[in-house]
Symmetry: C2
Subunit: 599 residues, 2 copies
């Protein structure tokens, strides 16, 4: 094999009449009467190689037998393509290489699917032959884009004085989070390491150690049910800062996001990003990660019906529920659409879907006959419904209404293609409650994580809540406490989340108590953090960004799998390698476990 | 808390007479009659803060109660220190801050050990209170050095057109390597993921995918016995290139190492590095990773004794063994030293240690009385022994002699402090055998890994070996086959290793056969690699560098633990978090395993 002198995709004017050696894959090959035309491809692109039987018989003999994806090396002279045969679709389309030497380096068997953008391929096949899938232009570009993103991210952090530190993979359970992957220990029978769900505690420890500003692009692992578009391992941009408040963390994050969008996409990003309170998000969008690229906000109607005779609404209000609506004003809803939407909300637990369709001269609706005139008037005024619009109702328990209308918004956006992929809506969601009551567990749980600081002025409320015997009063008090937390939402995805952390041991212990974590349990699980807080912990806070999701949004991709080199399926399988797989009895014995079929 | 305007360690001339706000830790505090002097420390260094009772009584009141490692915030004006009180040991030693405001942000309990360089601390305590350990100047510098190294490494790769790609952590067993850490799967009862020992197969797959040049700074995990200075998880600089030969990989590596040493240490590095064959290393140093910073090379003496009457040597030679010696000429060996060395070689399996001490006018030795005059003359000539030197012998099976003298060299170097930490010896070891016979397993094993390519011209020998029935002949043939592998050795440590890989399926299958891996097993374990090789795999090769070891060598540290933020003990324990630990029965049940005490 000769040594390459240039990438195929970089052949240009400056190579004209010069000899080059190229290596790559046969993208396409065809023989036109004694002349073989090869589209030769490498990472940088494609160039046309011409091999003539007459002038180079031995090269021609090799070239004539080539098939798709064979690996070859060629030597030849760059020339301008004959007028009229240029290919404007190729960067190199004005040139071709007249080869006098062609070497077959490695041949390719017939492919399970062709390497092009057009052929649709099943996810399973794509992942099994990932090396072929990754040869496709769009997939290759996704990973090159990711590569460039890494470098920009680090540049931003390094320029801002952050120190890159690696944290352990074999560590201890991070409780209060998702399910851990566990790793049996060979040297310590019966004990297990846990793979990190995030470096949360380690980055806090680094602040206690005085590193002041830390960052890492780091893999995190969570053994969650892989609903929707999740991966058991994902990559996080993780950072933490000392002696800061929310504004410092938000400012760095905005600088990072702005730089990424501007340098990678050429998209201008205005900072500071808008901020909305958690409460306002829920009220207006039924979600704490609203997609604001389209309207369809939730409208509060409960008060209109306080004297209603419409039984369905009345019952809901009597039970303390609420009535809200969305005015769908971005398209025409047919009867069939409405049936489909009804089915959709039922799947979420709604009893049905009430609606009013506003036409030029009348209202069509299954419910208007039960409503008083002033009620209907109120609805139309409040929702600003015009002819062509349809008002969609939800009457239910408050949380249910948010869930149903929040999801209905997104469902409608998909149906009517309202989510423009090249528009980016950046939003901070702030003023989260610190904890919420979990009915199932019968205790308070953290909305973010138990290391999140409450607002300074709310700390006395926490203290008071702890001293209250009355559970309802305690709930009321606790729910009023706001966290110093902030989520970064882009286009309806929670791309990042962070907070100012608790840096005082007494406050951390108080929060543990309210979370019903006993002092013993706290010591066992978080003893090292509590100790660290008592040896000179600075005020600190930080944020973590889901890199895979961020990149997918930037690239306009639906699935994060397309920005990950070797992702797993929804069942956590890697079709390429076949992981997970059985291991030998010896391996199990070495780590002191056996597999069991639990009943 | 006010916001910091500057780091403590950065106070300089330009701040003179200006007001600053500083945040940090109380490094030292003392009260001299109504004036409190605080050495205030942050990541960037220390500055002296002065608080006068007279001018700032309320600040003084806070300052007077401060203790070591309390976290404080101060406001004050920078002034020049009075003449004669400057501290030349501090960067900021010409200045001090006269504080008019002092706030205690978080107090520190009495410390388990003081934050300074002088106090020796047990490893266990260091790791348990890692956040305090990391506050010490040397440890902090180790991690900042590591941070700078990351950035330089990536700069070199990015400038050379490498693409950074992340590879999976939940993957499949990498056989032919060390022991895997395994992770039970919840969704696939009885099946396990393995944590990656290296991204070897994934980087090869990336080459098949056409990425041309890949790199990653990546965590690798091996469940090996943690003898000496190993960690269960370690960091690797990993890269791979397509359409290259050994010279390309070596050139990039040298550029990387040169850049790191020059930019981080200001040490000039001459390239290309010297190269020695595996055989020569073994013969001259008894090791394939020789430390050449001192002499003490092995000298071959066997032929001198072909007619010897000295029974010990005669017996060894009769059994096919060899006799080699080291002339220790870098210090005086006392009788006590010799006793100690004898004990040392015995611990390695030697029967004893023969020696000849050359004095001005005589030889002292327990063996000269058994030797002929010409034998003694030969020894002295061959070893170039002069008065003051001591010749140390090993007579044993060949492999044993290498082992004993190779280790004896290093032992002597430690005793006599011959390994200068600020001298760096860079070496490529090349021409490794592809495989060696493993007596225990009764089969050939790869010296590097089974994906390493043999030299092109040696492939027919492999073919011939496979066809030979005679095992001895097969061994002879196989042992003569050289690998296209290269190890980077610095100061006696194998810092990196790599090879040109096999890119043809038929050759890979041939190698598997010689390694006694059945086609079924090959398909099961490496089927995806074999398939990838048949769909257009380019020639490729790469290297991996142990980053922890490299950094420890650069920093002159004995232990890699000192360049890792959160390392584990020799028993694989993290004293900070207490990992590994017991998990709940629920967690075990979820992943379909139970712990067992195997007999």
């Amino acid at each position: 094999m000769m040594k390459r002198t240039k990438y195929c995709g970089q052949i240009s004017q400056e190579d004209l009449d010069k000899e080059v050696v190229l290596c790559g894959w046969v993208h396409r090959v065809r023989n036109h009467g004694g002349v073989v035309f090869i589209d030769l491809r490498d990472r940088e692109g494609i160039v046309q190689v011409v091999v003539e039987e007459q002038s180079s018989p031995s090269a021609y003999e090799v070239a004539d037998k080539l098939g798709s994806e064979d690996v070859i090396c060629i030597k030849g002279v760059v020339r301008r393509r004959p007028p009229g045969t240029e290919n404007p679709k190729l960067k190199t389309g004005n040139f071709e290489v007249l080869a006098n030497y062609v070497e077959l380096i490695n041949s390719a068997e017939p492919l399970p699917f062709p390497v092009n953008e057009e052929t649709p391929i099943s996810e399973e096949l794509k992942l099994k032959y990932r090396y072929l899938d990754l040869r496709r232009e769009s997939m290759k570009e996704n990973l090159l884009f990711r590569h460039r993103a890494y470098q920009i991210i680090r540049k931003v952090f390094v320029e801002n004085g952050f120190v890159e530190v690696e944290t352990p993979f074999l560590t201890k359970s991070t409780p209060e989070g998702a399910r851990d992957f566990i790793v049996p220990s060979r040297l310590h029978p019966g004990k297990f390491y846990a793979l990190p769900q995030s470096p949360q505690l380690f980055k806090q420890i680094l602040m206690v150690a005085g590193f002041d500003r830390y960052f890492q692009i780091v893999r995190c692992l969570r053994d969650e049910d892989l609903r929707a578009d999740r991966q058991p391992e994902f990559t996080q941009i993780d950072f933490e800062m000392s002696f800061v408040d929310e504004e410092d963390v938000i400012a760095i994050t905005e600088q990072l996001i702005k730089t990424l969008f501007e340098e990678l996409l050429g998209v201008e990003v205005k900072t500071p990003f808008e901020r909305l309170s958690y409460q306002e998000c829920i009220e207006r969008f039924g979600s704490d990660k609203p997609d604001r690229r389209f309207g369809l906000e939730l409208v509060e109607l409960t008060d209109l019906f306080k004297n209603t005779e419409f039984k369905v609404f009345k019952d809901v209000i009597d039970k303390g529920g609420v009535i809200k609506a969305i005015n769908f004003n971005l398209g025409e809803l047919s009867r069939k659409d409405l049936d489909e939407l009804t089915k959709f909300v039922r799947s979420l637990g709604a009893k049905g879907l009430a609606w009013i369709k506003v036409e030029r001269d009348k209202l069509t609706s299954p419910i208007t006959k039960f409503l008083k005139e002033e009620e209907i008037k109120g609805i139309l005024e409040r929702t600003k419904a015009k002819p062509g619009d349809t008002v969609l109702f939800s009457a239910d328990k408050r949380e249910m209404v948010y869930k149903i209308l929040g999801n209905l918004r997104l469902h409608l956006a998909k149906l009517f293609n309202l989510q423009q992929k090249d528009r980016f809506d950046f939003l901070w969601v702030v003023d989260f409650p610190l904890m919420e009551w979990d009915e199932e567990e019968g205790r308070f749980v953290s909305l973010h994580h138990p290391f999140t600081s409450p607002r300074e002025e709310d700390i006395p409320i926490l203290q008071k809540a702890l001293e209250t015997e009355d559970l309802e009063e305690r709930k009321r008090l606790v729910h009023s406490v706001r966290a110093r937390a902030y989520d970064l939402v882009i286009n309806g995805y929670e791309v990042g989340g962070g907070s100012i952390r608790i840096h005082r041991r007494d406050l951390q212990e108080l929060v543990f108590k309210l979370l019903n974590i006993s002092p013993l349990e706290a010591e066992e699980k978080f003893g090292f953090l509590l100790r660290a807080l008592s040896f000179g912990a600075p005020p600190h806070g930080g944020l973590a960004i889901g890199l895979d999701r961020l990149l997918a949004i930037m690239r306009g991709l639906d699935s994060i799998r397309d920005v990950i080199a070797f992702p797993k399926t929804q069942k956590g399988i890697c079709p390429l390698t076949g992981a997970p797989d059985y291991v030998s009895p010896k391996q199990l014995k070495e780590v002191h476990i056996k597999t069991v079929e639990y009943q």
